[in-house]
Symmetry: C2
Subunit: 612 residues, 2 copies
């Protein structure tokens, strides 16, 4: 079968949210509105959604007007105009590319074929259509490439999704199912378990699987891979349940300098693997001495135990603020996808030396790759890499950690062993570590190559070239206000206002100052920094370039006498004097990462009433 | 003599510029206006100067109105009101502290005594007043502290400047002259050679020096210490002649990836010392093995020659943009106090190892101090320090450089040996290197302790605590537009516009992207980066964390069809994804350092006329 032509038009647009609980933030309110649009098919006004979302107050009317036209029929010429408008807005991939490897917000642009025999298929059920041919599994399996066509099966139906591949919100992960059944993947990515996803699929039906092969398929139990995920603390705000992604409420975050493990933000890409510590093995590969295999006991006894305090932050922390500018792809994190813990374990440097690392290795090796024990149904593991010089430097402090806050690392955080790469984006701190590979190349994983990179605000899914940007490693200067909450009300009789927050910078750069403004950035005051629990002695000052832990900050200022509303702003400075950018739109990027503009919170001042 | 009370009020305000040539930029125009205000004494409207300068179009009327009132007399009550207003604006030190160790813009707040016998002295000449007592040099020399009073002599007059010390625009350097003659210092800091400085001095006259001691003083020749400074290229824009500080025109800067030494920006703090390479000695101190002394020949033959390409940038680069917001202390640099060169020499690491450095030294040592051979009249040398880990790291690439761009380092750049600390602010790259000291402490020099530090925009000279901020080492992400120039005119018939500039980040962080906007920051395009001379192969990609050299960038874009004026903006991103702040006011600081907001240039589009 020759590669099909890619001419196509959109006639359907889906926006939905998965089953996760939602924050009570403004953004969530918007997303709830968006959620109300589930299954709004052929609603042309939705094609304007991209520009409307930039002015968030206009979203609700847009939804209403769209809902009113929900069931209006549309001629094919209208469909065509709609398509052109979408295309000119560069939404083709802008919508289709959302949400690779994540589970929260998903926008689907359904790709309709120009082929005459499909133009009027419309919504189909998944029931058998006796008019369609019957295929064997063997025939289906032959269709595993764009050249041969991409076929998949679902509940006995055979689907040719060749032309949908480029539109898949989850990116090229869809290719994992090529030539086989969708069920095990949909069990992994629960976001697919919604009615309209079946409707999209139905448009691509080309035949039936023969009964014998269907029975074989059904014999393979597809259990929920997330069923053994650990219990979590109910206070966490969940951004995605499967895989589990959640953050603590901001006001809890700044209560403790060391974040209790239960409250530490959780960012999983796959189900939590169950690892038996007794049989756990860590393989170290790529060095001249061959493979070194270590047990957990080896790690604990053969190498000095080293402890650091380090803050980890997700690349997507504060993504919700970018979503307010224009929808991005990714979990809708608030300001709390960052936490601080103590970590103990063997130094990666010591383990690499034991495995045969010598300085001449640096002549050909450039990276150290990590593979997790968390896998998808094909056995593909989570993976990432860091530069070799960070891994082997004494001052890099990279740990193979087996303790978090003085106890065994909890399952959600990588039991029994995770990498802690202090100063580096969370995504490289691989959990449930199974393998270390010293290499000339970066990790080839999706998350290293085609995710977790930053782009210009002018780059969209039509123009993005993931090879053009470096994988995020060190993160830039960051700070946020944890108290008061946005939209809080302050009593005039309080006379003063206390503002609290956190500040951190990547690369071991120490936060040296946090400026706070109560007037939207016109005037600034310097906050007090804290590097230890309140009332206790601060942590000792870190050596230069090794400030891995955040600072908590606080300032108490008189309430401005005439103001009825305050716009509280914070910005931090690190010891390389890097500053945060003022505003979000100029740093907006399609993946919604690196959101570190000044953090802004508005509060109202309630004038006192005569109560006495 | 008891310490005098510090109660005082301002009645006079001086703002002047030294004899340097001026840029043709907007800021210089303002400063020319300011220059017109020389000797505007008792002109109260000048006390509003601080707020007016923030809206630069209002400066000229303010000057005019002030000039009109130039010679109006003022009652003492008016003086008093004036003082209160100044004080409430926190100008007390704001004016007085300007320009320590530099030579360009200087604003004097003249301190009038409340003492009745001085209240009406007014402007005095320096002629002998027979009513004043005669002192011996011995008596003068006893007054060298705030406790005993600070006395100085000038051309036979004796002056008690105790109360002026805190007001001195040059900071505590004035104490160097305590108990002695001013002449040798004024020869060094030529900015004092202006009539109104003499007028200020006259207010403090307390007596005459006896004739015998005056003759002795005059026997000591006070020659111009700058007379042996080298010739410079006439294209340089001079910000200060003595000491010499100059930058190339921006459009020349981006012509060459490697800046020719003649065009490389020059930032001297003191006269250029004349060093005989044959007798040159470098002393390395502070290590267990005792002092190591090396000749130039030793440096060249005993250690491997190492070459790097590294950009140096003055902490005050782009200070003129901060001056537009509110006057700061320091040389009024444009955007070209940054240049790129190749540097060859011995690694500091290798020299320290030869001098006895071992890893256990790091248990007590934290810093490596450098002393230049450039001195003021007291023999105080220029000095700075860098963290020990930077100095001894193989990856730090710190050089004791004896070549610049393949030739002996020119006198203005440190002949015969300077330190090159790549990725670190220019001020730590000590020229004419005489001594290296491994130490537990930072350099105690003025430039390390009380200069070259960043503060919050809310910090003024009343509240600043230099101990509260770290000495600038690594610099933050930076970029600027070199072509077109601000206020340039573009012909509509050109159809396209080419924008060029540079981008660099400190700490070895590589510039990975430059975004350019033609509409003031609403939309952005990605510029092409270049890391070599045009048409030649680019420099090889640096190892991670060792990107010491800038990137030049360029973008050619169609002229927007309807625009009559363009606001061109650039912003760069480094590989830690640090971004530049959007605007200047929130990063404004009293010393005018670290000016790295988006760079903005406005150009006009000239519509075509019918010429054919």
């Amino acid at each position: 079968m020759k590669k099909r032509q890619r001419k196509c038009h959109f006639s359907t647009l889906f926006v939905y949210i998965n089953e996760s609980r939602r924050n009570r933030s403004d953004t969530s309110a918007n997303l709830n509105n968006i959620n109300a649009m589930l299954l709004l098919r052929r609603c042309h006004s939705l094609t304007r959604f991209g520009s409307l979302i930039t002015q968030r107050h206009q979203v609700t009317p847009a939804v209403a007007s769209c809902a009113a036209r929900l069931c209006s029929s549309s001629s094919s010429s209208e469909d065509h105009r709609s398509h052109q408008r979408v295309h000119s807005l560069s939404w083709k991939h802008g919508l289709a590319g959302l949400l690779a490897g994540t589970g929260a917000v998903l926008a689907y642009g359904l790709h309709h074929h120009h082929k005459a025999e499909r133009a009027d298929i419309g919504v189909q059920t998944l029931k058998k259509s006796s008019s369609l041919p019957v295929f064997s599994q063997e025939e289906v399996t032959k269709h595993r490439s764009l050249e041969d066509g991409i076929w998949v099966t679902y509940k006995g139906g055979v689907y040719d999704i060749t032309e949908f591949v480029a539109m898949h919100p989850g990116g090229d992960k869809i290719m994992l199912a090529a030539g086989g059944a969708l069920e095990p993947f949909w069990a992994l990515y629960a976001v697919h378990n919604q009615e309209h996803v079946l409707e999209i699929l139905s448009d691509y039906k080309v035949g039936e699987l023969n009964l014998e092969d269907l029975k074989k398929q059904q014999a393979v139990k597809s259990s929920d891979p997330y069923s053994s995920d650990p219990e979590r603390h109910p206070v966490l705000r969940i951004n995605s349940l499967k895989p589990f992604n959640a953050e603590p409420p901001p006001e809890i975050l700044s209560d403790s300098y060391i974040t209790p493990s239960a409250f530490f933000f959780k960012r999983n890409h796959l189900p939590v693997p169950q690892v038996d510590p007794a049989s756990y093995q860590l393989h170290v590969e790529g060095l001249p001495g061959g493979v070194l295999t270590l047990s957990l006991e080896d790690l604990k006894t053969r190498f000095p135990k080293h402890t650091i305090t380090a803050t980890l932050q997700c690349a997507g922390n504060r993504r919700s603020e970018m979503n307010k500018v224009k929808l991005v792809k990714g979990l809708n994190w608030g300001i709390a996808a960052i936490s601080n813990a103590t970590w103990s374990g063997a130094r990666l440097r010591d383990v690499l030396l034991a495995a045969g690392y010598k300085p001449d290795v640096a002549q050909w090796a450039r990276h150290v790759q990590f593979e997790g024990l968390d896998t998808d149904v094909t056995g593909t593991t989570y993976g990432a890499s860091v530069p070799l010089n960070k891994a082997v430097s004494e001052e890099g402090d990279v740990l193979l950690a087996y303790e978090m806050n003085g106890e065994d690392i909890p399952p959600d955080h990588g039991f029994p062993v995770r990498v802690v790469v202090p100063g580096t984006v969370g995504a490289r701190n691989v959990k449930w570590l199974g393998k270390i590979i010293v290499s000339a190349e970066e990790s080839s994983s999706h998350w290293q190559q085609n995710d977790y990179k930053g782009f210009s605000p002018g780059t969209d899914w039509d123009t993005v070239d993931f090879k053009s940007a470096p994988a995020i490693q060190e993160l830039p200067i960051q700070s946020a206000i944890t108290t008061p909450a946005d939209s809080a009300t302050i009593d005039r009789s309080d006379e003063t206002l206390t503002v609290k927050g956190y500040a951190w910078s990547g690369g071991g750069r120490e936060v040296v100052r946090v400026d706070v403004s109560l007037d939207g950035g016109k005037t600034w005051q310097v906050a007090q920094l804290r590097s230890g629990e309140k009332g206790q002695a601060p942590e000792p000052s870190p050596p230069p370039g090794r400030a891995w832990a955040w600072k908590l900050w606080e300032i108490t200022a008189p309430l401005p006498p005439d103001a009825q509303e305050l716009e509280i702003v914070c910005k931090a400075v690190d010891n390389s004097y890097n500053m945060q950018p003022d505003t979000v739109p100029p740093i907006w990027n399609l993946r919604g990462v690196l959101s570190n503009a000044w953090h802004r919170v508005k509060v109202k001042i309630r004038e006192d009433e005569d109560e006495e």
